[in-house]
């Protein structure tokens, strides 16, 4: 701010303008213009130059923008979605050793927790528990069949009656089903201690039940795959 402007508009905020009331004696006239009369002049501009720091900031940002665009525009390729990778193709690292409990836990948290809950307790009266359940710790084939094709109607678990339905998960791979059931049957989180389920068992049941087009009822299961079977 230049010095003469500072004098003209002192920081104490009292500009030297006493226009109000000097000119018009007529009270009505003054009334009409009251608000206008006490206004300050229409706004105007000074011409302070750009601060140097700002220029430096702008230059810095421009350089950054250039580098960012150079790195992340990928020649405007419409099929490039992932700014982290050179190409979208998933690198093929060959077969890996799979930790069935880890895969099982992952599969469980992706597909099962919404109803059976993290702790495997289910919801009273709505979704049966997995923790301590005789169904889970009994015949593994029965479990595989349920996961593949779902379950509907009245079921009796640990002495409680549930009347609901379970979504089929036949879309999961055999390995995922084997893993999730191994996890459910033996995780200390639920206090279950039963044998693991293998991929071959899943494949076998998938084959045996390939004609099943609807969700199971308990009667059907009791007949085909009894709990103690």
């Amino acid at each position: 701010m230049s010095d003469d402007i500072r004098k003209q508009y002192p920081p104490d905020g009292n500009p030297r303008e006493t226009f109000e009331g000097n000119r018009f004696e007529d009270a009505r006239m003054q009334r009409v213009h009251d608000q206008l009369m006490r206004e300050r002049p229409e706004p105007s501009e000074n011409f302070a130059p750009l601060p140097l720091a700002l220029t430096v900031l702008v230059m810095f940002l421009c350089v950054w923008a250039g580098l960012y665009l150079a790195k992340y525009t990928f020649e405007f390729d419409p099929f490039h979605y992932n700014e982290d990778r050179a190409a979208n193709a998933v690198a093929d690292e060959g077969p890996k050793e799979v930790d069935m409990m880890a895969l099982g836990k992952r599969t469980f948290s992706q597909n099962c927790v919404a109803c059976h809950q993290q702790d495997g307790q289910g919801q009273p009266g709505v979704y049966p528990p997995l923790a301590g359940s005789e169904w889970v710790q009994g015949n593994p084939k029965r479990l595989i069949a349920i996961v593949l094709h779902g379950l509907a109607g009245e079921v009796h678990v640990n002495g409680e009656t549930y009347n609901n339905a379970m979504t089929p998960f036949g879309r999961l791979r055999d390995q995922q089903i084997a893993a999730v059931l191994t996890y459910v049957r033996s995780t200390p989180d639920f206090g279950n201690e039963s044998d693991p389920v293998t991929e071959d068992m899943v494949a076998e049941v998938r084959d045996e039940t390939s004609d099943q087009s609807e969700q199971w009822s308990q009667d059907q299961l009791d007949e085909l795959y009894p709990i103690d079977g």
Binding site: P11, G13, A27, D34, Q35, P41, E45, F74, H80
Partner: protein
């Protein structure tokens, strides 16, 4: 230096002919804007109350989801859209029409000649918005964010916008001044940009929907630009006019004004695609949006410096004036919200903020703490001049200020802190590849924050009622014709007056 800049002579000898002629001219301008300006303000305030009501309903639904849950028209998705559309196209746009057109007319020294055409536009615009809100509630909603109003009100809105917007162009074309002030660029540009955005969005999203994610890109190009190229220029134009006007001190630097305007024009309109970061759109579009969003730091800092250097040293004076109090609050928040916005566009930051309340908080920060507060300030200045009346109650203005200012600060903080924590909880993956927090844990975490948010909304509602009462009181109070009036100030006035 332009002819309108006050010279030493002007302030020492205020009865100089030029000032006198100018004031006579401004008086004519104010009178010609009296009917349409008042109409826009009243419409805006009514929409503000309607929008607040919808906001309260949504807030209640967050903590009590079955509230009014048996009625289809009051289901959450519709009430939320009704809230958004009534505050954007009802409140914010009407307020922008009122203050923006008035400032444009004043700076151009041109009065509105055919008020009836403007009034017709004003009435039809509001009928269009009413139709749109009813359409949303009864289920004709277009499921595109910020464009929910059904296609059948589009022609009405488009024509009435043309009838209103043309006055900004006419005023500018036949301006009586040599110099073009920065507010004029902003307002002129805003009235030009919105129809373009709206037309493109309507064609590509409602009438001839584009294929696939081009819809989403168009959607966010439009929606972000309604804020960036329509409301922001109106808000900045208002601040640029009223800060020097009320404080009686010229804007710090013309160069900064020019620089800030053109960088905003260049960068803001690319920024919208940051709403799609991580989504199914090609990486290069996102990168361009990210860069533009970060480059927005330039206009924001430029405007902040320009405003700050103009206000500096006049704080007491500003605190006294309702106008300046609201506008400075808005201008400070413009700087903060824009810098946060730039940060949010970075992929690493967006990872936590995307899909959470952080974005909601950010939207309210920009639309309320910046734009709405500036419009309140503009109305506190404009309305006494249009109506030749003073604000009836300083107490109500103070209530309005404190409730809305504290309310919105609480709301923004609550939403952004909650949003950030939720974002962190959502993204945390443990070593064995499972998520650290189930969705249930996240929903349960949010509950107390929803209550806090309702409290902040309640505070803002009180502020709005104070404003509403003051406006209605002002409109209907008997005028005391023979007494010279005093401006309504918020602290004890000293010798000079600056409402």
């Amino acid at each position: 230096m332009s002819s309108q800049s006050p010279t030493l002579l002007d302030s020492l000898s205020p009865t100089a002919e030029r000032q006198e002629a100018l004031r006579a001219r401004l008086s004519e301008v104010d009178r010609s804007m009296r009917t349409p300006g008042t109409f826009f303000v009243v419409a805006a305030v009514l929409w503000l109350m309607v929008g607040t009501l919808f906001a309260l309903l949504t807030a209640i639904k967050f903590t009590n989801p079955s509230f009014l849950g048996h009625t289809e028209i009051f289901t959450f998705g519709r009430v939320r859209s009704a809230h958004l559309n009534s505050v954007i196209y009802g409140w914010a746009t009407n307020a922008g029409f009122a203050v923006g057109l008035w400032i444009m007319a004043r700076l151009c020294r041109t009065r509105v000649r055919h008020t009836r055409i403007l009034m017709a536009g004003a009435v039809f615009w509001n009928l269009g918005v009413i139709g749109g809100i009813i359409g949303i509630l009864k289920g004709d909603m277009v499921a595109v964010e910020w464009l929910e109003m059904p296609g059948y009100v589009t022609p009405l809105l488009a024509i009435s916008f043309a009838l209103i917007g043309v006055w900004a162009i006419i005023a500018f074309r036949w301006r009586q001044t040599d110099h073009v002030y920065v507010s004029q660029w902003y307002i002129l540009a805003a009235f030009f940009w919105l129809p373009w955005l709206y037309t493109t969005a309507q064609i590509l999203l409602v009438f001839e929907p584009a294929k696939g994610v081009v819809q989403s890109l168009t959607n966010w190009w439009f929606a972000h630009n309604v804020l960036g190229l329509w409301l922001t220029p109106l808000g900045l134009g208002t601040a640029y006019y009223l800060i020097p006007k009320v404080l009686g001190r010229p804007i710090y630097s013309y160069y900064l004004s020019v620089y800030g305007f053109w960088t905003l024009a260049l960068f803001y309109n690319w920024a919208g695609v940051h709403h799609l970061i991580g989504g199914p759109v090609p990486a290069w579009v996102i990168s361009a949006g990210t860069v533009a969003s970060v480059m927005m730091v330039i206009p924001v800092v430029v405007v902040a410096v320009n405003h700050h250097m103009t206000v500096v040293g006049l704080h007491r004076q500003g605190w006294r004036s309702p106008t300046i109090r609201f506008i400075v609050f808005g201008a400070i928040n413009y700087t903060i919200v824009s810098l946060i916005g730039s940060a949010m566009a970075l992929r690493d930051v967006n990872l936590s903020t995307h899909f959470t309340d952080f974005t909601v908080g950010h939207a309210h920060h920009g639309l309320y703490a910046f734009y709405t507060m500036i419009m309140f300030g503009g109305m506190y200045y404009m309305l006494p001049r249009l109506l030749n009346r003073e604000w009836p109650s300083a107490f109500l203005i103070k209530t309005h200020f404190w409730m809305t200012a504290l309310g919105i600060l609480l709301m923004v903080n609550v939403l952004q802190i909650c949003g950030w924590i939720v974002g962190e909880m959502m993204n945390q993956v443990t070593q064995d590849g499972t998520v650290a927090y189930t969705f249930q844990q996240i929903v349960e975490f949010r509950v107390p924050w929803h209550w806090l948010r309702s409290v902040s909304g309640f505070m803002i509602t009180i502020g709005h009622f104070a404003f509403f009462i003051n406006v209605v009181w002002m409109l209907f109070r008997p005028s005391k014709a023979d007494q010279p009036s005093q401006p309504t100030l918020l602290t004890r006035p000293t010798a000079e007056a600056n409402a």
